[in-house]
């Protein structure tokens, strides 16, 4: 989002100063001031975080005292969760998962006991099909503002006209290049595989994840990231197997290799791109010009959730723009909510790794549910890894 486009943000720095002086002069009330600037929400959070101001016990009686939350590693600000516990008396047990497949398997096996969890766009339809998640009562989430969430990101939350999820963060899957070692400035997946088998031989990594690795090979060949066509997948397999002797590793834990200098290029989620680039300026994140993945993570409540009231209260709390901005400070990913984006400093909200140019984004695809469960793709990955 460019700086000039400030109208949809709740408050800008200049407007904030103007409102502040109005408040000082007494032309608006304190309450209006806090409401207009968004500080009110922040203060409300702070106030509820102070146990003496709010009877925890009374709240606990309504919400219970426990909540089980399953999410991804390093994806939340612990301070936010502590504040929620202080305000409501609900203790949050956080489970971290490494993949959507693991989450699905756990929930499918039954008795997971989760109240809230964080699936990625392409799994929501599956969860609905398996009757594992609840339709959300949006009126119980007053902090959620559908209007400030780009429909492109929020779209997968609606299945058959019913809303099952609210969005959290979004991102892209591209690649990172060590520009000190690779000077040819690869811009596409086609370039990625050419460099892998040429100047960067022995120093490239791909994910240990079929969705993104096969997807990258498909894009390099000019096919869809989500293809499940047997012939196209055979071509992608041939490309991957041809590239394999030139690979440094097949791993989803690629930061250590990039940081040590052993690897020069890797398929990369943009949050890792931000972290690598922040510490090492010669690490350049590229959204491939020939396609790739765009994704959104969501909050959902399982059908089997034992503490539904607490779950709504928790999601509502996390939808607060100020809380979202605090979360993003820790995990680095871009919020889907324009109100939270407005609260971030320009260095983050204008970061091209988090907010690539629109023409680059238009070529990206959301992963599809049947891409993930497709048996041919699973076998292609197995043959590639064992080749």
């Amino acid at each position: 989002m460019s700086n000039s486009n400030n109208t949809d943000k709740p408050i800008t720095a200049t407007k904030f100063m103007k409102e502040l002086s109005r408040y000082r002069k007494g032309s608006i009330s304190r309450r209006d001031f806090l409401g207009v600037t968004g500080l009110g929400t922040a203060m409300a959070v702070m106030a509820t975080a102070t146990p003496s101001l709010l009877s925890s016990k009374a709240m606990a009686a309504e919400l219970g005292n426990r909540l089980v939350f399953s999410t991804w590693p390093n994806y939340h600000n612990p301070a936010n969760i502590e504040a929620f516990t202080k305000a409501t008396g609900v203790h949050v047990q956080v489970n971290a998962f490494g993949s959507n497949e693991e989450m699905l398997a756990k929930l499918q096996a039954g008795g997971a006991g989760w109240d809230v969890f964080v699936p990625t766009n392409y799994t929501i339809e599956e969860y609905v099909k398996l009757d594992l998640i609840q339709e959300l009562d949006i009126s119980r989430l007053p902090n959620y503002d559908a209007g400030s969430n780009d429909p492109r990101f929020a779209g997968p939350a609606t299945v058959n006209g019913k809303v099952y999820a609210v969005p959290k963060n979004w991102g892209t899957t591209g690649f990172v290049v060590n520009t000190q070692k690779i000077s040819s400035a690869p811009k596409s997946w086609k370039d990625f595989f050419e460099v892998t088998m040429g100047a960067g031989s022995g120093h490239t990594m791909v994910h240990d994840y079929q969705l993104t690795t096969i997807g990258a090979a498909l894009c390099a060949l000019g096919y869809s990231f989500n293809s499940i066509d047997a012939n196209e997948l055979a071509a992608a397999e041939a490309l991957l197997i041809k590239a394999k002797p030139h690979l440094f590793a097949i791993t989803s834990d690629y930061q250590p290799g990039m940081r040590s200098g052993d690897a020069w290029m890797t398929i990369c989620w943009n949050g890792d791109g931000v972290q690598l680039n922040r510490d090492l300026a010669h690490m350049e994140y590229v959204v491939a010009s020939d396609g790739g993945e765009i994704w959104t993570d969501f909050y959902c409540i399982p059908k089997s959730a034992p503490h539904v009231d607490a779950a709504y209260a928790f999601i509502n709390n996390l939808q607060d723009p100020a809380v979202q901005a605090l979360d993003a400070k820790v995990h680095g990913y871009a919020p889907t909510d324009a109100r939270a984006l407005a609260l971030q400093p320009a260095s983050i909200s204008d970061n091209p790794i988090l907010h690539p140019a629109a023409e680059l984004l238009s070529g990206l695809e959301f992963g599809a549910a049947n891409t993930l469960t497709n048996p041919i793709r699973a076998e292609v990955m197995a043959r590639f890894k064992s080749a």
């Binding site: 497949e101 699905l104 240990d208 079929q210 040590s260 469960t373 048996p375 197995a382 064992s386």
Partner: protein, 288 residues
């Protein structure tokens, strides 16, 4: 011998009950579940969906490379562990000054106090570009690649499984009657002949146990090839992880597990028969 009284038999049964239940619920039942799953169908979104088919067994060839990799690296890793562990166990049992013995034994165990995952991560850094290859660079060997090679996987195996090999061998060498060695030498045998005809045969039970422990665990290994092989060395353990956690094809994964159990039963029983026969002739020779 006196017939055990009725109450005695009751007490025995009662004392054995926990073990029996443990075996039934923790060993037999899961194995039955895996066997049943292996003949089932994969549900459309993954998992298990009942049915009866041999399709997954017919499809085992799709993981042939993973099987052959495991069946190459597991015996090779066991052999290398034995070659490294035997001299160490020999030194600890027969040569080392008694004062340092306990300390050295503890040092062999100490790595076990930390998770294998963390220790394997440490090896990623030791073998990575800033570790040993960096030192080799200084002394003139440029561009040496250690990490993410089959050699790194074997090194990780020997490192990770060494204590399991050292201790059984150490115990059998420790029990060895030292006067046998003196007798052998008094009767004119060279040190090498004494080792070959006395020490080695008498330590065979330890060697057999150690090899079994290491081999069986290696057959299911997935962490070391994934981390030190950079995911490019694919064991059957890695194939199973992918089938259960990624593509969620439980029936195919179960069929592979059942096949793995059968392969292990066959190789281990062959191995037992072979070593037991060798042990016998070994002992006979040493007594002649």
């Amino acid at each position: 011998m006196k017939e055990p009284s009725k109450s005695n038999r009751w007490i025995s049964a009662l004392l054995l009950a926990p073990t029996g239940l443990w075996f039934a619920f923790m060993l037999v039942l899961p194995l039955i579940v895996i066997l049943v799953f292996s003949f089932g169908e994969r549900a459309a979104v993954g998992g298990y969906a009942g049915g009866f088919t041999f399709e997954h067994y017919a499809n085992l060839g799709a993981r042939l490379k993973a099987f052959t990799n495991t069946l190459t690296y597991a015996p090779l890793g066991t052999l290398l562990s034995l070659l490294v562990a035997y001299p160490l166990a020999y030194y600890l049992a027969l040569k080392v000054n008694r004062r340092y013995k306990l300390m050295l034994l503890v040092l062999v165990i100490v790595p076990f106090w930390t998770s294998l995952l963390i220790r394997t991560y440490a090896w990623i850094y030791i073998l990575g570009g800033r570790g040993i290859p960096n030192i080799l660079d200084w002394i003139g060997f440029e561009g040496v690649r250690l990490i993410n090679t089959p050699g790194a996987v074997l090194l990780g195996i020997v490192y990770g499984y060494l204590p399991l090999m050292v201790f059984p061998i150490y115990v059998s060498l420790e029990k060895l009657n030292k006067s046998l060695l003196e007798a052998s030498s008094d009767l004119g045998a060279s040190p090498f002949k004494t080792f070959r005809q006395v020490t080695l045969p008498l330590s065979m039970p330890g060697v057999t146990t150690g090899c079994m422990l290491v081999f069986i665990l290696l057959m299911g290994e997935f962490l070391i090839p994934a981390f030190l092989g950079g995911g490019k060395v694919y064991f059957i353990g890695n194939a199973l992880v992918d089938l259960f956690l990624q593509s969620r094809n439980w029936p195919f994964g179960s069929a592979i597990s059942v096949t793995l159990v059968v392969i292990m039963l066959v190789t281990v029983s062959l191995y037992m028969r072979m070593t037991m026969r060798n042990n016998k002739t070994g002992v006979d020779e040493s007594l002649m």
